[in-house]
Amino acid sequence: MSFISVNKLWKQYGDQVVLENLNLDVEQGEFCTLVGASGCGKSTFLKMLLGQETQTRGDLLLEGQTFPAEPDRNRGIVFQRYSVFPHLTVRQNVLMGLELEQRPLLGKLFGSARKEALEKVDDMLARVGLTPSANKWPHELSGGMQQRLAIAQSLIMRPRVLLLDEPFGALDPGIRKDMHELLLQLWQEIGITIFMVTHDLHEGFYLGTRLLVFDKVRNDPHDPNAYGATITYDLPIGQMDRSLLQDIDQSVTNTARHQAA
């Protein structure tokens, strides 16, 4: 039995078919990048993994169990924006998860328990390179720093799956490169299963172990919502050549044009 298995999964909003007949098996520790044109259901799929959305038909299983229908501490998330709490400093942001877990009622740690937790926090901050900014407010951080913080905040909970929804979409190219390195390094150290949605096909090719391309196989120009997207390419990264990248790029761009038309 694989870690996550997706079986004949469909997602519809009314008449609009977003995803059709999705089948996928993911092993623990894989780093999957999800690419595709906008409106092709990659974010919807991520939301289903997160528990923010539920499927219309089919199975979505984590170690054979149905995914809980609401977000929980086993699935961490980093959004493109607004992932950190503006009213807490960097350190408090990372500490939050530990406090929530250990104190269901107060949600705050004191004394030696707090000290112990803060050691973990500082260790995590060092890993993502935020030690110098530990006592700053999030609004004092750059976009890249905020994303580092969001990642640290999720990882300190040791979730089973880390979900990233276009986490670097709003960052400058140079910063994006640094973030890629950081993410790969953390993934290798911690060995967590990662799903990352990205707009950037080249980012998808570079990061991770597995590329999943979401695309529409069928297209009805008179009724663009009649058919949903599915996974058209499921490729191990590192075994791809340039022509394949161009093929995928072409196909995704075509779909994007159809969507826009």
Partner: protein, 271 residues
């Protein structure tokens, strides 16, 4: 250069801001002088002299009948009512607003009621308050509560719902239960917004306070103004109005500074 692009410098801005006050003062001074020249006992537009005399009498001399310094007694009574009313209203707004903002079940249950209540003209139910709570302090405080709480409740609920969904999801992935979502995410972020809501509610609160005092009271700023109206005592009314305005400004600024001090992240654009 277009008019929309012409911005005053600091000095010009201050001068422009002070100017209307000076003009008002000047117009009043001239009109008052003219009337007093015709009739030294004129009561409608008292001069500075009469007003300082009235303030001296009201604030710094014992009242002959009661032995109190009336202006201070009035101020204290009014501020007490205002503070109680707005305080209770803010507390209610926080509790109901948070519940409405965070919990869809409570929102479905309570939001229509709150919306309907906020539409009731508070002064229209003042007689009911007098009948139910008597003519004492309670009815006046209740008027302020009823007049300001529903709108603040709606405001707080709205502010909670404006918090990004991403945050709500994120805190759940950190393992928060519903209570923790309220106490660690919604409450701390809504407190500075509540203070803003209170600042906006102070205007209506003063209105309700003075209305209630005018009708049934034995002391208070509103009571005094309406009492001395019978003698056309503009020399008392005008300083009282200015005093109320000063109090309102001071309270507003205190709240603003408190907000800044307590919630640095909020005012630095961290939301």
């Amino acid at each position: 250069m277009r008019l929309i692009n012409r911005t005053p410098g600091r000095l010009t801005a201050t001068a422009l801001g002070v100017l209307p006050f000076l003009i008002l003062l000047l117009i009043y001074g001239l009109a008052s002088q003219q009337r007093l020249a015709e009739n030294p006992n004129d009561k409608l537009l008292p001069g500075l002299e009469q007003m300082t005399a009235a303030v001296d009498r009201m604030a710094f001399q014992e009242d002959r009948r009661s032995g109190d310094y009336l202006m201070w007694v009035d101020s204290l009574a009014s501020l007490e009512r205002l503070g109680m009313g707005v305080g209770v209203a803010a507390l209610m707004a926080l509790v109901v607003g948070l519940a409405n903002g965070v919990l869809p079940l409570v929102r479905a249950n309570l939001a229509p009621l709150v919306s309907a209540l906020s539409m009731v003209p508070p002064l229209a139910i003042l007689p009911i308050l007098f009948i139910v709570f008597g003519l004492g302090e309670l009815s006046k405080v209740m008027l302020i509560v009823i007049g300001t709480a529903p709108i603040m409740m709606r405001d707080v609920a709205q502010r909670v719902r404006e918090l990004p969904t991403e945050q709500l999801i994120k805190i759940q992935t950190l393992g928060a239960n519903s209570w923790q979502v309220v106490t660690r995410m919604a409450l701390p972020q809504v407190l500075p917004r509540l203070i803003d809501a209170v600042r906006l509610s102070l205007g209506p609160a003063w209105l309700f306070l003075i209305a209630a005092e005018a009708i049934a009271s034995t002391e208070g700023l509103g009571y005094r103004i309406f009492l001395v109206r019978r003698y056309l005592a503009m020399d008392v009314i005008l300083p009282y109005v200015i005093w109320i305005t000063v109090l309102a400004i001071v309270i507003d600024q205190c709240l603003r500074l408190t907000n800044r001090k307590l919630f640095p992240w909020y005012n630095a654009g961290g939301h």
